[in-house]
Structure formats: C-alpha cells, structure tokens
Amino acid sequence: MPAQFLINVFIALLWTLISDEDELSFTTFVAGYLVGIVIVFLMHRFFGERFYLSRFFSLIKLLLIFNRELILSAKVVLGHIIRPKIKFKPGLFKYETALRGDWETTALALLVMLTPGSVVVEVTQKGDAFYIHAMDVDQSKNALLRSLKRFEKAIMEVTR
C-alpha cells in the first residue's frame, strides 16, 4: 500500500515538472496528485492490493456515521439537561467487541465515548470487552448497542 502512495507522489512530482512553470508551486503539485489518484485507482489491481484511498473513503464514511450518531445522542443528552426534572437511569454494562488490536479498540472506544450518553469505563485485560457507563440505560441501551455495531463494522472497513 505504501507503494501506491509513493507512486502517486511520483506522479504528482512528474506533473509539477511537466507543467514547467517558473516556480515550483504547491497548487500544481496538488493538481498532479489528484491526477495521480485517478491513475493509481485505474491501475491498482496491477499491484494486487486494495486501492489505497479506499480506506480513506471508508474513513469518511465512518466519520459520517459518527456525526449522525453524535448529533442524535447529543440531542438526547441535551434533552435530559433542559428537562425540568431529571429522571434518567444511568447504568454500567459490559459490551463484548469483535474488534482486536490497539488501534481498533481505541477507535471504537473513542467513538463510543464521543457519542454523548456513553463512556467506556474500563477495557478488559484482553481488550475484548468494554465496560460502558450509559447515561440512560433504560431508554437508550438498545440504540447504543446498535450504533456500536455500526461503528464496529465501519472501523473494520477502514482497518482490514
């Protein structure tokens, strides 16, 4: 995969030189890079690997999912805040994840935590389960579990 990137950079450089301007300019380089992306995408199968930017797209997808969740659950928390009487029922539950490795675990944890209303309190020693504190277990545990699954999938698209 780094090879793809290097090739892309090489193309960009080439593009810059070909453009033959008075000065080396960053915008030309960017343009060259964009051109390179197209070229590399077309040819990535020759390298027998995934197109290196597909991870990038997955990442963007992950972000989008996340943003949706973020806004949704922010609404929930804010709702609790402005409600005249506080009547949610917090709780601490265990969630076993399919993700493995430091980066995956971390990413999922970050997402869980960024989602308002849920915090990872502990990670098990093996790193295969989280203890999550949810602000309102009663109402949103299921919703939370659902978004967790979505996150897991999205993360795996990026990392694997």
């Binding site: 430091d102 971390t106 970050l110 502990e122 990670v123």
Partner: protein, 145 residues
C-alpha cells in the same frame, strides 16, 4: 514503590497518547521555527516539546521513555545553555558586541528566499534548556525513592 497487583488496561490512553504526542512534537517544532514571525519561539517550542514528554511520562513510564529517548536531559539543558551563551561569545569573534545577532536572507534550493539568523541558534539553545530542565526536574522527583 507500588507493586502492581492489579492491572489497568490503558490501551485507549496509550494509543491516543502516541498519536497526540506526535502532533504535539510537530507543533513544538513548528512553534520554534515560526517564532520569529508569529507566536512561538524557543521558549514556547521547548516548553511544548517538554509537555509532550511529560504526557508520555504520565501515560507510559520513565523506563519506557528513557528507552525511547536515551539522553541525559541535564546534558541537554547544559548543551542548550552552551549554545545560547555561545552565540553571545560568538559575536566577539566577529568583533561585535556581546550577544550581537546577525541575520540575512539567502536563496536556498527548495526553500527559496530564506532568512537565516543567529537568533535561531540562540533560540535553539533556549529550547533545549527548557526541555532539558523540565524533564530533569520531573524525572528527578519522580525517580526519588
């Protein structure tokens, strides 16, 4: 010292800290270099650098950090001071007043018109002292039995 009978899985913190400290280090270098024209400079650069190390020390431990950065921070500080004071004495060689700084613009390949100044050396010294001292202090206390 503490015998760790229970273990904390610090994976989240450590993973993020690695990433974050990279960002901080980059920022530190940036601040150092940019200082002449925008906020920053030797002090801030050094301090930020030091704070990155502090973060690593908190999140990891002295042993790990020492392995990662095997330098004597006292010497780093001293070397920094030597640089700073050295530029002071350096001016004498050129028959200038003590601590006279010189700057000029040069055309360098790839960088274009670049300003090179002895203040850079001076400030590098400052930064090194700051890093060296902050880390020395924190390490000294933390390592005390």
């Amino acid at each position: 010292m503490i015998k760790h009978r229970y273990r904390i899985n610090n994976v989240i913190l450590r993973t993020v800290a690695k990433l974050v400290s990279l960002i901080i280090l980059t920022l530190a270098v940036y601040l150092f270099l940019a200082g002449h024209h925008s906020p920053g400079g030797g002090f801030v650069g050094g301090l930020v650098l030091a704070s990155a190390l502090v973060l690593l020390l908190i999140v990891f431990d002295i042993e790990t950090v020492r392995k990662g950065i095997p330098v004597d921070f006292k010497k780093v500080a001293a070397f920094g001071a030597l640089l700073s004071v050295g530029t002071g004495f350096g001016a004498l060689i050129f028959g200038e007043n003590f601590l006279s700084q010189a700057f000029d613009y040069f055309n360098l390949p790839f960088f274009g018109k670049t300003e090179l100044t002895t203040v850079m050396i001076f400030e590098a010294g400052v930064a090194l002292v700051v890093v060296g001292v902050v880390v020395t202090i924190i390490l000294s206390i933390s390592e005390d039995e």
